[in-house]
Symmetry: C3
Subunit: 142 residues, 3 copies
Amino acid sequence: MLHQTATRLSVTTRGRGLYDITDRISAQVTNAGVATGLCTLHLQHTSASLLIQENADPDVRRDLDAFFARLVPDGDALFVHTVEGDDDMAAHVRTALTTVNLSVPIVDGRLCLGTWQGIYLWEHRTHPHARTLVVHVLGAAE
Amino acid sequence: MLHQTATRLSVTTRGRGLYDITDRISAQVTNAGVATGLCTLHLQHTSASLLIQENADPDVRRDLDAFFARLVPDGDALFVHTVEGDDDMAAHVRTALTTVNLSVPIVDGRLCLGTWQGIYLWEHRTHPHARTLVVHVLGAAE
Amino acid sequence: MLHQTATRLSVTTRGRGLYDITDRISAQVTNAGVATGLCTLHLQHTSASLLIQENADPDVRRDLDAFFARLVPDGDALFVHTVEGDDDMAAHVRTALTTVNLSVPIVDGRLCLGTWQGIYLWEHRTHPHARTLVVHVLGAAE
């Protein structure tokens, strides 16, 4: 018996960096009452992305952001699209290098994340933003 | 009631660059008659990829391609796989840095893309190609 | 009629490099007995990733790994997270630049991979590891 839910979540960011959304996604999975299935996340933006990464040492998130800041410099002279600020085109490239959607299977009523995996929204703009995430759960109640 | 469709689309490219396929994907979703569900795209190649990015200013696509061209230089002396031309191994790396599949939830009979999001096929080879894309729609008719 | 299977596979690596897991995934799809559907792979780690890439010339995999090794140097002075070794933070960045989950449609009882596509587990740590992969198959038996 097919069961589905689709919910829009708003995630408020304080500017560039990784924001842990694991608990909010897990709550949607629990609410859906699905034993086995699939949870798909879609972020409706082009200058912020989704990432599954280590949830233990915060230095990992710090280093990830530092690496991306060096790889894709704000205000790079290569960029023509500059009207929305120095960080805007860099944010589009950082998003292209990661992803805006993820699909994680649900097993025994829970997301099958590894012990050290968390789900993060990665804000690539330097200023605070309100981001919209669609959480789709599909499966069988058992 | 589970409903599914799977369609192969051919996308013709004129060489390196981003090609908007949003309308063709949306038409498949409409044809499938699914109210709530999931649309998965799979590109059957290793030197072209799929990307969700800004659909407004074309400079964003120009800058994305310019950034990737600098990050992954054609004919890089590092590459051993060179028989298919200077752009071939660069195209494989560019594909690895992005993705060949995407899953977008369907809500109220439509792909839940953000206002500024378009779906693009990113051709990484310099010459024109015919690319095959599988569009899978899964869901319930209501 | 909705049909689902979810299986945990263990993949043993001998250190950094790409490991072909296509046959093991295809076997799970065959076992599931699904004619049309979706196969989602989720790797439960943050220092190894999943990649769909060329299965013909092994030089492509060699070049991919060489490119990533140059792009994300082990022991980069930028990194603060260094307690688990020189290759650890580089492995997290390489994982962020690729992905830990993939969804491939199933058509006519088989993964709809292109002729030259293989599915690889990309080990980013230099030492051997045992990696856990969840294979979720969802669809209809026909």
